[in-house]
Subunit: 226 residues, 2 copies
Amino acid sequence: MKKENEQQRKIRVFFVEDYLLIRKSLVHILNKAPDIEVIKDFVSAEQCLKELETTQVDIVIMDLGLPGINGLEATQKITKLYPEIKVIILTSHENENEVLAAMSMGAKAYCLKEIESETLYTVIRQIQKGALWIHPQVADFASKTMPKPNSTNFDNLYTQAKDFDLTEREKEVLKLVVEGKSNTEIAEEIVISTHTAKAHVGNILAKLSVTDRVQAAVKAVRSGLI
Amino acid sequence: MKKENEQQRKIRVFFVEDYLLIRKSLVHILNKAPDIEVIKDFVSAEQCLKELETTQVDIVIMDLGLPGINGLEATQKITKLYPEIKVIILTSHENENEVLAAMSMGAKAYCLKEIESETLYTVIRQIQKGALWIHPQVADFASKTMPKPNSTNFDNLYTQAKDFDLTEREKEVLKLVVEGKSNTEIAEEIVISTHTAKAHVGNILAKLSVTDRVQAAVKAVRSGLI
DNA sequence: ATAAAATATAGCCATTTGGCTAGTGTTAAA
DNA sequence: TTTAACACTAGCCAAATGGCTATATTTTAT
């Protein structure tokens, strides 16, 4: 059925990546697949969004860490404005939160740049068919937190993922922990008792799933929380 | 003169870049130049260094931010062991210190991944002829601090900028500190006494000019040391 | 209105931390 | 050869940490 359609029509792709050299090389690689066609490539998400107003594509492949509108925001915008378009994240970020955030923004795939080109072709084809795909290397933490595919619950993932459910006060304390402050210093700074400071730190450790303040600080910094 | 040599012999290149997809695409792009040949490409600097023992090349193109030995250390090793080999840094880091460090490590060129492929070909050809090249976008701060091409003054740049003068052992310990390990755990992990572990941590704190391991960890992460 | 959080406080206790001084053995540079 | 840096070990001590249980007030949802 519909032989020409399914086998002859190429998968139309937009590609967003800020570094020229990488962009051009990847476009080249992508176009080597007989059934994939990079219609246009963009330095920024803004340009891509602009072009989407007039051009129909099947898939947008998007880097995270773009200048201006970042890949996550762009993904959200695209999936909201054009639900039929599938967004594939292609990035080097192995960050847990980024994966969760991207998927909750509506991305259909999360690929690390580790990926082999042949696998990438396959992923693109699978996504085109409606699949979801997450790179094995980051799939474990994604699967944990992604039980219900209902959007209500998903929307919070981004904030939850980035916030670790910390309260305002706890974020305040965590910031001071990252500065290397002791519980006593923290207590002085925000005018609470040392007991309270300790309690806050303890709760922070629990919420971040770590066992000491060093790990908490590192996690906070690495996840961009602080 | 020597028409065949200069025009027919291709520039032999090693290419080091950890992300498979990017590596393969760039190799492809590089090989499109008629006078450039990527002999081999590597995921890690270690592998590249190993291969250099047996294979002669003109140029090594190197990413920064590699796993294991990073691009800067590798550059230093290469230029020390094989002064005739020119190292080209190809990275996305626009960091001032990285540029200075790379050049002081003996790199001959510092290219951002922004670069156009045609320009990259030109740079490679220029470098092969003995030139130095720094990407316009980062050239300004490089030129400021690069007055004396004598190595004495330059050698410190790297350590001052990134290393905090840590010894190998201390870096090893610092990595474990960042992982949130206690002194006891560190001692177990690298098989030393807890006393030694404590001593190392103490020395690290002093060298990083901080007063506790949290600050050390944060500083290590933020400065990209770990 | 009631339950559920967030915030704050308190004490106990084993363990860890960081600063300090004081050594030993090894290796590399002056 | 001697100095200097590195790696390692050791003990002391006051302070800090993290886990624990318990309580009370306030804010926020339902």
